[in-house]
Symmetry: C2
Subunit: 423 residues, 2 copies
Amino acid sequence: MEAELEKFRRELELIGERARRAALALGGVSPEDKVKALELMARGLDGAREELKAANRLDLEAAERSGLPAPKIDRLTLTDARIDAMIAGLRTVAAQRDPVGRVLERRTRPNGLEITKIAVPFGVVGIIYESRPNVTVDASGIALKAGNAVILRGGSDAFNSNRFLAGVLNRSAMAAGIPDGAVQLLPWTSREAVKLMLKLDKYIDLVIPRGGENLIRMVTSEATMPVLKHYKGVCHLFVDKGADIDAALKIIVNAKCQRPGVCNALETLLVRRDMAASFLPRFAETMRAEHVEVRGDETVRKFVPGAKPATEDDYYAEYLDLILAVRVVDDVKAAVEHINFYGSHHSDGILSPDADDVKYFQTFVDSAVVYANASTRFTDGGEFGMGAEIGISTDKLHARGPMGVDELTSYKYLVVGNGQIRE
Amino acid sequence: MEAELEKFRRELELIGERARRAALALGGVSPEDKVKALELMARGLDGAREELKAANRLDLEAAERSGLPAPKIDRLTLTDARIDAMIAGLRTVAAQRDPVGRVLERRTRPNGLEITKIAVPFGVVGIIYESRPNVTVDASGIALKAGNAVILRGGSDAFNSNRFLAGVLNRSAMAAGIPDGAVQLLPWTSREAVKLMLKLDKYIDLVIPRGGENLIRMVTSEATMPVLKHYKGVCHLFVDKGADIDAALKIIVNAKCQRPGVCNALETLLVRRDMAASFLPRFAETMRAEHVEVRGDETVRKFVPGAKPATEDDYYAEYLDLILAVRVVDDVKAAVEHINFYGSHHSDGILSPDADDVKYFQTFVDSAVVYANASTRFTDGGEFGMGAEIGISTDKLHARGPMGVDELTSYKYLVVGNGQIRE
């Protein structure tokens, strides 16, 4: 075991050095050459479909042998349509505005120094994910558009598919003149190997974990480099006084039912006390029709036949299912307090015609995205007009909410003088 | 011991809750009321000079009893001039542009959703520092200007001074209508207490350590919340072909000698090989006149009489003293390689008349501030025109280089609709 870890360590050093070298070169690659690299990646995938499907079959056979559940096997399967989607994704990213070199600020100081703050790549980004092999392509493409090299650690289920994909992507980047190491996959998937990778702050500038809460907590506690993460989405809507009940129900159904398994789906509904009698009976009908299980406080249960009692745990829950916690609160202030206390600072909204209440809610709810009169389901890079997205951050440092290519850059200051010294 | 830690834990919870409550209120305080709070803080200090000096005397007496070295005792001493400087600092921060609520981006989506990205306070900022009591005032003022509450942990030497200062600042904020808890000092200074504070991610959104490398490494490895840090400044200048030797020597003397003990002082000089014969003899003279010890490679030692040999360790060294490592390199590419390998990604510069070399250097040197033809000593919030500064970040996440009030904000997205749902 110790000997094996030592082998990991040595190999990891080499991976790190290669990534660092590729990243330093990428810092000077022109926007046109990055577009070229992404196009070569797209063509590389297109030209290697049959080999890719063969690699994928190895994963699928192993998955069947090990009795992986059918939905997981489905997510693992690379069909031509899914390969097309990965290729199209690379071309979409290629067509986006190049985020590197943007002038973020410029000023001339009284002593004549010209100070320019410009966006630069992070350098080397580590991405730790599970399951679906498309992440290998999507994440590599977005990272490269922002001038970063990636070290990927995919899940063991998709190991053969991921290894093949990473190989194609890296060779395609090399064909565009980028040194070996722009896209590398960790050749082991064990937890010990991941932990070693998370100590590689000498080579990795940033780690992005994508997966369940346990994976993310492990990465956060082990990593010695910065981590951009997304814990969970306990999203709220608050039905304020005077809310248009038809519009509110439409938004609630969309936020809860359109795709209950995602992080921007609604988990807790708050209803203002003086709306209870007019809103809750119609709400009860709608939820019954949509097969949503309601868990409510005493007032809610009075108006919603069959509602179960909500416990304290329900207010913290990310159900990711057709279940909704419902609570009656006195006013917008009580709604904000509930959200800041029980929520996950992801996406929360108010349904209200009252400008003062909307302002209070949007000022004091401490979440990445705060809505007025719209569904929480819009928290998404594509819906925000950012193009491709690498995840949604519930952190407050650096990136909050949807993260696109801009969020994968850092900045530096260029200072130009003509002999200035400090007095 | 365990009982004491348990007491710490309970008290820390209360401190955290108070800070959180103050921070949530601060999120909605108007720019005018923050200016008022800062002015009341300034007046509060002015009116409490004698009590403050009495508290400071307790620290000074303890320092003398424990045999603290004279320079440390000097840094600990609060004179009227130093109190004036703290008061002036608060008024300078008060007069700066309010960073909260700035619109960072605004777009209207095809479906009519209006998305506004605005700057918001972080919330609660933990600041861990040593020695000088003025940090208590400077850091609290900057944090409050950006709408944050602070939990301070100062050094044990300045405990009485810091406790008194934090008390005045907190009461002054309360007089401006901000709830109790905007400024709190940890009532213990032990390492165990700090470690407990660093687990308080439930209440503290961000930690900023200020001090030596050991303190910063401890904070980084213990903290479960994000950390903005500054390791060290191993700053370089590179004398390129054709550099104006008079101007170069002036800049080198300024960068090395004006204040050798600070992080933006010069530590390693790189000289292009074809400049060695013309530059190094005059450089040797100047360094002798300035009493700078030179440690150089073979070529350097040929031209600089009395220069010691530079070892590998010298190229990593942050001397903070009148010592300079000097190395001859072949060209700008070799200079950049040296800097990225041995440097600390803080501040580095090229002295060159050649636009291509300047461009290459500024593109590929991976540092927070990259200079052309100016002293590295300008890396400073004040010199950058940011106003007050809370430190200089050598991280790439969120803030890089000097950090002012803008860098103490996060952002959120406000989305306003009229019933939009996701298709």
